[in-house]
């Protein structure tokens, strides 16, 4: 896939990936074997008819391809960009056995971008059922659930606590990976299905739990927005951020454009990021674009990094330095961060995740200079709302327990996405939300 050169892209927040041209897309589409029993569909959490839309690209009918995708997925331009296709549809593509799989994600993205420019009719809506459904949160799960429910003719209201819809798509994922005009355009299409969006509404605060439970059904899609901190000495020094805060300041509040935008953020010249997931890569690459020399510290080896391979590669190209088998243990500074002490880690026997357990090697310490230190070690479910719902069963990590159909311990409350699983992927949240919406539709029939 063509990308912009690294030395150009670290100077702005424009998209890194350039996407296919029509010729490239058609050539790629023609590689598809059109399997009789397509495995790729099994790998798609929302069940897009992948061979069908690829055939439509090959035939040159891009809008028809877009309509095919839209039957199962209202957020294709987003998914085409941020889905880990290499672990899903593309992983199962039969071509991958001998050469490279069809680049399904890039094709989805091409189709969605084409349709956005050319104009694709929004899907039809069933007759109004007069049933009211509340959706809490407007991230991937909330938007997908809302779209499914609205298409089925229900009266859907989304409650969003921030001033802008999109959840992690808006506050979390940077625009160089997911341009905000694309997010906004896809949100607009969901709203065009007749969904009511109430921003600045915090359920449990602006909307009481009693009011919430008066809806015929409730879908919780509040995500995993609670940042974990490492609990280090010096963690409260100025210049220490959770990745959530750092990314929210930039993505949602546009702090990189201060003082044109009012929200400040410290522009680090030496930035340390702890963690190696997609959020860590996003934070590191954002700090890089703000002029910092960025070092990412990870306790395991590079091959154990949970981020997508492409993100790791992009980060490396952009000059992010990786220090592996090391872990921060103390933050130095009087008022502002001046450095981070790290300890070397040794790799031991594999743990439940199959990756080696990392253990500190005593006395093997080193110090990295830093004026900004960003912790990207994971997020948990947002506790604010769910701890106020009486009778809802929670798991150990404060996640809502929901079955495969999205049912929780309360008969008319359903849940999907990171609030049930802890931080996972956009598409898994969407897949779960779709199932939950279908379960809600079944329930509302009676």
């Amino acid at each position: 896939m063509p990308v912009r050169p690294a030395d150009e892209r670290i100077r702005d927040f424009d998209e890194v990936d350039l996407g296919f041209t029509k010729t490239e897309a058609q050539a790629e589409a023609l590689r598809c074997l059109q399997c009789k029993k397509p495995l790729c569909i099994d790998g798609c959490p929302v069940g897009i008819n992948i061979p069908a839309f690829i055939q439509q690209i090959a035939d040159g009918d891009i809008l028809q391809a877009a309509a095919t995708i839209q039957e199962e997925n209202m957020l294709p331009a987003i998914c085409g960009r941020v889905c880990p296709q290499e672990n899903q549809c593309e992983k199962l593509c039969i071509l991958g056995n001998k050469s490279t799989p069809v680049q399904i994600g890039q094709l989805e993205r091409y189709v969605a971008d084409y349709a956005r420019k050319e104009g694709l009719q929004i899907p039809g809506i069933a007759n109004q059922t007069k049933k009211r459904v509340a959706v809490v949160g407007s991230g991937p799960a909330g938007l997908t659930g809302a779209a499914e429910l609205a298409k089925a003719g229900h009266d859907v209201t989304i409650f969003e606590s921030l001033h802008k819809a999109g959840g992690v798509l808006t506050y979390g994922i940077p625009s160089f990976r997911l341009p905000k005009e694309i997010v906004n355009a896809e949100i607009d299409r969901v709203m065009a299905l007749g969904v009511t969006l109430k921003c600045n509404h915090i359920v449990g605060r602006s909307v009481s739990i009693e009011e919430l439970l008066k809806f015929d059904a409730v879908l919780l899609g509040t995500g995993a927005g609670l940042p974990y901190f490492m609990d280090l000495k010096g963690e409260h020094l100025n210049g220490v951020y959770s990745a959530n805060e750092f990314l929210t300041r930039v993505n949602l509040m546009h702090a990189e454009q201060f003082p044109s935008y009012d929200t400040p953020v410290i522009r680090g010249s030496r930035v340390i990021v702890a963690g190696a997931g997609n959020v860590a890569m996003d934070a590191a690459r954002t700090a890089r674009r703000m002029g910092g020399k960025v070092t990412l510290v990870y306790r395991r080896r590079e091959e154990d990094m949970p981020a997508r391979a492409a993100e790791i590669e992009h980060a490396r190209e952009e000059g992010i330095e990786f220090v592996t088998c090391a872990n921060p243990v103390e933050v130095l500074g009087e008022v502002n961060v001046t450095g981070v002490i790290c300890v070397r880690m040794k790799m031991c026997d594999p743990d439940d995740s199959g990756r080696p357990r990392a253990e500190p090697i005593r006395n093997e310490m080193f110090t990295l200079d830093a004026d900004v230190f960003i912790q990207a070690i994971g997020q948990g479910p947002n506790p604010l709302l769910i701890r106020e719902i009486d009778g809802i069963t929670l798991g150990k990590k404060g996640n809502v327990i929901a079955d495969a159909s999205g049912k929780t311990s309360i008969y008319n409350v359903f849940a999907a996405g990171d609030v049930t699983t802890g931080a996972a992927t956009v598409i898994e949240a969407m897949g779960a939300a779709k199932k939950a919406a279908q379960t809600i539709c079944e329930m509302l029939k009676d």
């Binding site: 600045n200 605060r205 901190f229 609990d231 409260h236």
Partner: protein, 279 residues
Amino acid sequence: MYTITKSKEIANNIVEIWVDAPHVAEHAQAGQFVIIRLDETGERIPLTISAVSQSTIRIIFMAVGKTTHALARKVVGETIADIAGPLGKPSEIEKYGTCVLVGGGAGIASLPFIAKSLKIAGNEVIGIIGARNSGLLILEDEMQSICDELFITTDDGSKGVHGYAADVLKNLNATKKLDAVWIIGPTIMMKVTAEVTREKGVKTFVSLNPIMVDGTGMCGSCRCRVGGETKFACVDGPEFDAHTVDFNLLMQRQRMYTDMERTSLDLFMQHTCDCKEEK
């Protein structure tokens, strides 16, 4: 968009506004706050809900930075792009017995709502409101009407007791059994005043005002040390046990963006002076 229905400078540089925000007004309780964002390029800042009337809420603030200066200049009929809330845990209102509410400067704005709630819960409520001088004193009449007894202090002696609110609290604490105390004002004032009640172990609350972004527990910008643990003021507070708060750390974190805040304000002032008519 939320419409400003009243706006008035009630003391030097301290402004009272009422804004139509039904989703907040309907649920607001004493001690809670809102996060406002003025416009598309605005920042999100927390402000205490000072009172509620039908679908409107009252916010009282001192114009110190760009956002508060810009808000102070808004006139009736103008709007605020976003108001999220009510946020934070409400004040712990119960029947304590004798309660003292201490307010300093613009922090006095938080007191009437709490005082009223405590009165309704059956408490004797004593107010102490202090300011640098009489020109900066706010809500005297309102507090007078709610409290069983009200003390006024000014640093320069231009009104009431010449001295600090802490001095009056010290006397009360020495002569009377106090069951619960609220101290709300500038961080340094809360820090100093809270020492008065430490020895006798009087239950004392302070309302913390660290830098926030989302206000819903998602970023950790407002993290404070309370009782040796990390707490998020936005969801675990904003009120905490005064005797366990690390005030020095709070003050340090409040100053994180001082230079940038100054830049922002300077640009705003420059702009509004050069082309006032346009604005």
